[in-house]
């Protein structure tokens, strides 16, 4: 049995080193002379957060919330559900907690612990967006974009309502860099919605098939260090299409023997 899932992408956002949003990314793409910024994103605005929450929340939460806010834009987010996916979670926070536990376990910070849950960004987003809708937080490994997209597409299908997908990972810290390397901060968000015939804009068509996925790289070869450096940057080829690049077919692994075949195109 082969099910085809459809969605329109009605909003998108991005936060990456040196590039604060999709418009900045579009400018960068248009200028072949510019080199790719690397490392950490300086200071994600996350302006939707209440100042007290924003102060306590770590950089990983700011990054995810900033891109989520960009994708939702001026729409009312109050009943939009969301799937947040991060391969490695908040690596600097995990490194700090593990370091404290090894040295002086009684000194674990309650704020750090509260933010160590993988759904910290989802929880903060529900507050910032005043949304009581269902929110999930997934971790599906370095190739998590396939399962995360599939989960979000299933929500769109089941609810016939928009669904926010946020992919984010932050640069590694401490000894964790040995095994879960992540060289740059990167977050991307897509607001998916049921397809309406004749509506212009980017569209997805997905199927689950048996087989092994092939590697898909961004069109712009300059993006390769992000693409290989951060699991969330698997979304880059989709963002290129949102910004007008030609249609493409992708295959992303879902498990050891299945893949998500995705056709993405921009309907003028």
């Amino acid at each position: 049995m082969s099910t085809t899932l459809h969605a329109a992408i009605i909003g998108w956002g991005l936060c990456a080193p040196g590039l604060d949003d999709a418009a900045a990314f579009a400018d960068w793409l248009r200028d072949p002379a510019r080199a790719l910024p690397l490392g950490r994103h300086a200071n994600a605005a996350a302006a939707r957060m209440a100042p007290s929450e924003r102060r306590r929340a770590p950089h990983a939460v700011h990054l995810a919330l900033e891109t989520a806010a960009q994708a939702v834009g001026a729409r009312d987010a109050a009943s939009i559900g969301a799937v947040f996916c991060s391969a490695f979670g908040d690596l600097p926070n995990t490194d700090a907690i593990l370091g404290t536990l090894a040295q002086a376990p009684e000194q674990v910070s309650p704020t750090r612990f509260a933010h160590s849950v993988h759904n910290a960004a989802a929880g903060h987003w529900s507050m910032a967006a005043a949304s009581h809708a269902a929110m999930s937080a997934l971790a599906c490994g370095r190739e998590g974009i396939g399962p995360a997209l599939l989960a979000a597409l299933l929500e769109v299908q089941a609810s016939a309502a928009p669904q926010l997908l946020v992919l984010s990972d932050v640069a590694d810290a401490g000894a964790l860099a040995d095994v879960v390397p992540c060289s740059v901060d990167f977050a991307a968000a897509l607001l998916l919605a049921p397809v309406v015939d004749g509506q212009p804009g980017p569209r997805l068509q997905a199927q689950v098939e048996d087989g092994q996925a092939s590697a898909d790289a961004p069109r712009d070869a300059r993006l390769q260090p992000w693409y290989t450096g951060n699991p969330a940057a698997r979304a880059l080829p989709l963002l290129e299409i949102c910004l007008g690049a030609a249609a493409r077919r992708f295959t992303w692994p879902l498990g050891s023997g299945t893949l998500l075949t995705l056709h993405c195109e921009y309907r003028p």
Binding site: M1, T3, E53, A74, A78, A87, F88, T94, I97, L98, L101, P105, E106, S109, P110, F113, A114, S116, V117, H118, N119, A120, A122, G123, S126, M127, A129, A130, S131, H132, A133, A134, M135, S136, A137, L138, A139, C140, G141, P147, A151, L154, A158, S159, A160, A161, A175, D178, V179, V180, A193, P194, V196, V208, D210, L254, G255, S256, G257, T258
Partner: protein, 443 residues
């Protein structure tokens, strides 16, 4: 119930277009330009009363402080026994003065491939009640790529990460623990797929203490969409220093065994466990109990405290009732989240008294401890056992119940026939889930 499902579907398939009501609504709104209006989304969310088909829970089992497998859990539920013990989990320094729900170490065997405490718990669970054999049969009947895995966990293999950080070598991980699956949340799912032969889509849901309840929702959607023909839903969390010291730092750990819904309660007892359920379509397991619904919501209130009036939890309940098109009084038992924290139990007691009056309810965390990411699946298994065995579990540890819920809170096990039950799971981040479960003859 069948009648109401049909009526509701008819309402939502309009004008012979073959569209659902929601699709028609989007089309109409597109025409008049109000597609992105908030009222539209809100109306849509409220009106999406499309009941989804229940799925069968073809096999289920668990390991926890109460023992390994269904028989051990049934015996403990019937006796109203607690599995909590004085904390003897202390890998680094003196043990925190509290009580824990620990799986008997003598029952744990090394896990092939990657030996961690969490994987040992999963192996022990797979070995119970013929679960491994039933999974193998599903893999051969459906094909390995048609079997999916949804694992709910909050801490994954962090117990082993903690070991590694205690013996860092000049800031680097010890060589024997340099396996990436120890350090990222999807590691246990990758290991479990390799161990069982599951080759279909694999997901790790990590929404703190609602994780493995929400895993049932995703599992059902995979079956409904035809993505998989069988789904292994697993919930697993092991004891670790992160959660013991972390909850301690938040002043949420009781020095005594936890006392859910007791007026004197002073926090939780951390537990560990692994629970497994094999979801199938009903035609493939017609005699099996059913997952009728998984209602989900967000509090939008606070990262580590529940909404004081249980607003988010109420929405999860409403979503579950809408999904299965049943009224609250169709359920005759509620397995409460009941962590024994001051705030959770106060909010949950108020919610249950208001929205589910008169229905027998209990928290089983005084028996198992709070198994965090495993709690949703573990309590689903306990609830299924309650339905199957005809025993409503006790709220072990509660001597003087909160007045709001005293009339319906079970303090001793009650043998009686149960047909349908609800199970609540709430997590940090304001993440709520409500499972609706039923015997096959009551679905």
């Amino acid at each position: 119930m069948a009648t109401s499902v049909r009526r509701s579907r008819a309402r939502w398939t309009l004008r012979g277009t073959g569209w659902t009501g929601a699709e028609q609504c989007i089309h109409d709104r597109q025409q008049d330009g109000s597609f992105q209006g908030s009222l539209y989304f809100r109306a849509l969310a409220d009106d999406l009363a499309v009941p989804s088909t229940p799925v069968a829970i073809a096999a289920y089992t668990a390991v926890s402080a109460l023992g390994a497998g269904r028989a051990a859990h049934v015996a403990a539920l019937r006796a109203g026994r607690s599995g909590l013990r004085r904390n003897d989990y202390a890998p680094n320094g003196p043990p925190l003065p509290c009580w824990i729900g620990r799986v008997d170490d003598r029952s744990l065997r090394p896990a092939p491939g990657l030996d961690t405490r969490l994987h040992r718990l999963l192996i022990l669970a797979l070995a119970q009640d013929g679960f491994s054999a039933l999974l193998t049969r599903a893999l051969s009947d459906c094909g390995a790529t048609r079997v999916a895995l949804v694992l709910g966990t909050s801490t994954a293999n962090i117990e082993t990460s903690e070991q590694a950080y205690r013996r860092l070598d000049h800031g680097h991980l010890p060589r024997d623990l340099a396996d990436a699956r120890v350090y990222h949340l999807h590691g246990p799912a990758e290991w479990l797929c390799a161990h069982t032969g599951i080759a279909g889509p694999a997901f790790t849901v990590s929404t703190a203490c609602s994780a493995s309840a929400k895993a049932f929702g995703l599992g059902a959607r995979l079956l409904h969409a035809g993505i998989a023909d069988a789904v292994l839903v697993a919930g697993a969390d092991s004891l670790c220093s992160s959660t013991l010291y972390g909850f301690n730092a938040l002043q949420l750990v009781d020095a005594a065994p936890c006392r859910p819904f007791d007026v004197q309660r002073a926090g939780l007892s951390i537990g560990e466990g692994a629970a497994l359920a094999l979801l199938r379509r009903i035609a493939d397991a017609p005699a099996a109990p059913r997952l009728l619904a998984c209602g989900e919501s967000s509090d939008a209130h606070h990262l580590s405290a529940p909404h004081p009036e249980g607003l988010g939890a109420t929405r999860a309940l409403q979503a579950a009732l809408r999904e299965c098109a049943l009224p609250a009084h169709a359920f005759d038992y509620i397995n409460l989240h009941g962590t024994a924290s001051r705030q959770n139990d106060a909010a949950e007691a108020a919610l249950v008294a208001q929205a589910l009056p008169g229905i027998s309810a209990s928290s089983t965390k005084g028996a198992t401890g709070h198994t965090l990411g495993a709690a949703g699946a573990l309590e689903a298994v306990l609830t299924l056992l309650a339905l199957h065995e005809g025993v409503a579990p006790a709220t072990v540890g509660c001597a003087s119940p909160e007045p709001a819920i005293a009339a319906q809170l079970l303090r001793t096990p009650q043998p009686r026939a149960l047909r349908r039950a609800l199970s609540f799971s709430f997590g940090f981040g304001g993440s709520n889930a409500c499972l609706a479960l039923a015997r096959a003859d009551a679905a």
